[in-house]
């Protein structure tokens, strides 16, 4: 019964996939190779697949100005780790409240979470900035970490996961054993949630790491700059003609993400696919 697909069509499929693969990889390949080439070399021929020997020189030019990759990396790491920890822990706790307990406002609260899921963070940024400015929290990482406690999307996913994979008998039997509710959550439920927490942690971390808008308006002191703000410095006048150094700076910001992505790509792809359950 099965019809055969023509060879020509199959070839077409692979050609399209190959073109898209080149499209995905090429910009980054040019970037990495140019990071090793001198500005003069880049000016003569901006595309090359042969690395040159100016890697160290470019790094020195880059860090000799305002670009401090170590500082940016550390700042981003502190903020993203803090925000991720807040998001996954408190979202799990909130989802737990929604799934395990039978309370009057449970349904209204869930509807509320669904409704606020769509509130875009950028449209409240002016009020947020003014609020932080008044309580002297600009240039304070906590202003970027603490809001992560309320992450409606993550609550939604954790709730979905709990509904399908958290047996309520576990909670019941913990009660029989005399475990307090909070203790049960921390020591019995959290370990069961590990797979879902891991997925949500990856996305939360990447989102926080890549965020430009809020850090850009809140962090005005150079020693507080995150990686994306550091990157935006490359657009400024100080690096105008230092092509090699610009590619170097870009490469440094992409490198940690590449490492994380290729180690975890399987989980990330699976996590994205999970997102469609929402629809």
């Amino acid at each position: 019964m099965k019809k055969k697909v023509s060879k020509g069509f199959l070839a077409f499929v692979y050609v399209v996939c190959a073109i898209l693969t080149v499209l995905s990889i090429m910009p980054f390949l040019i970037m990495v190779v140019n990071a090793t080439r001198s500005t003069t070399q880049i000016q003569q021929h901006a595309i090359s697949v042969i690395p040159s020997t100016y890697l160290l020189k470019n790094f020195q030019i880059l860090t000799g100005k305002s670009f401090n990759p170590m500082r940016g990396f550390l700042n981003s790491l502190i903020i993203s780790t803090g925000a991720t920890a807040c998001t996954v822990y408190f979202s799990s706790l909130t989802a737990y409240a929604l799934v395990v307990y039978n309370w009057k406002l449970r349904q209204p609260f869930f509807t509320f979470i669904m409704a606020v899921m769509m509130i875009p963070s950028q449209v409240v940024s002016i009020g947020f900035y003014q609020f932080m400015y008044r309580i002297h929290m600009t240039n304070n990482f906590l202003a970027l970490i603490l809001p992560a406690v309320a992450a409606p999307t993550t609550v939604f996913f954790m709730r979905q996961f709990m509904l399908s994979s958290l047996p309520l008998e576990v909670v019941q039997s913990a009660r029989v054993d005399g475990s307090g509710e909070f203790h049960t959550f921390n020591h019995i439920v959290l370990p069961i949630l590990k797979p879902a927490i891991a997925t949500q942690a990856i996305f939360s971390f990447v989102n926080s790491w890549n965020n430009l808008f809020l850090p850009l308006i809140l962090l005005t002191r150079q020693e507080k700059y995150t990686m994306p703000i550091m990157v935006s410095l490359l657009k400024g006048d100080i690096y105008k003609t230092e092509y090699g150094a610009i590619y170097m700076g870009l490469t440094l910001t992409v490198l940690p993400l590449f490492v994380v992505y290729f180690l975890l790509s399987k989980y990330i792809i699976a996590g994205v696919a999970l997102g469609s359950v929402k629809g």
Partner: protein, 324 residues
Amino acid sequence: MKTKKLSYARYGYIFSIPFVVAFCVFTLYPVIFTVALGFTDFKGLGATTFHFLADDPFKNFRAILTAPTFQTALKNTFIMWGMNFLPQILLALVLAAWFSGTLFKVKGQGFFKVVFYMPNIITAATIAILFGALFGYPMGPMNDLVTSLGLAKDPIFFFQNKWVAKGVVAFIQFWMWYGYTMIILISGILGMSPEWFEAAELDGATGWQKFFYITLPNLRTIIIYTLVTSLIGGLQMFDIPKLLVLNSGPDNATLTASVFIYNQAFSGSYMYNRASAASMIMFAIICVLSAIVFVLLQDKSEVQARKELKRAAKAARKGRGIGA
């Protein structure tokens, strides 16, 4: 037994406290604050005092709505979003159909998925500056390519053309997001019952027919969901238009609503009041658009639930009939 259950209920409230507190402090209060600021004369770097505009409360809103730059920004935002979304959803649909098809198996699927999705997790700020460098003038990889292929004699100043600037912003958005959309659609297709396809095959349906009569209609909900999330994200487009071309290119070609709001509040004369008014207008637009789609989604799932209930009831009746 019943009293015991009731005594646990309070933990529902207790465990929700951190979320509610954080939400009230970091989202609700800033929302109210932003709304309020829209009705004041609050501006200037470092200023802390403001007065409500008692005699003309909607002055800022009127000023924003009639400002040609805001209209341009709004128009640009929708145009660039559309230029990215249409090809994005089309390509994602085609790839999803190929990757989840039953007629042939694309070898190396796992690899392709990983590669197509990759741009999505890279920092948008980095990508914006990378593309700015790739399209650099007079010396950039794109110009190198164009001149060595003989397509142009002299290097081209790409971003001097309004539509090229817009097109590159849209292309980057497309390039960053089609992989994501594709994966969402694939999982949607894989969630469909294989029996539908088998039945269609028995009836002699071709691959195209199956795609148009089974796959596409059943993906409706997911496509609408993708549309909403993409729209909400697209209306807030900031990193790429802000960093790709300096000062939004010729004639504000790549100025978006978010960049406009940022410029109002954090540069020039620091007009927090105008920026707040613009934010609220954007908020209203987003709310209206999401509400429309939310209603569409709600109906669909309800209709489906009702259908399923009917089917179950029918089956039960039939079962009883046979049993009797």
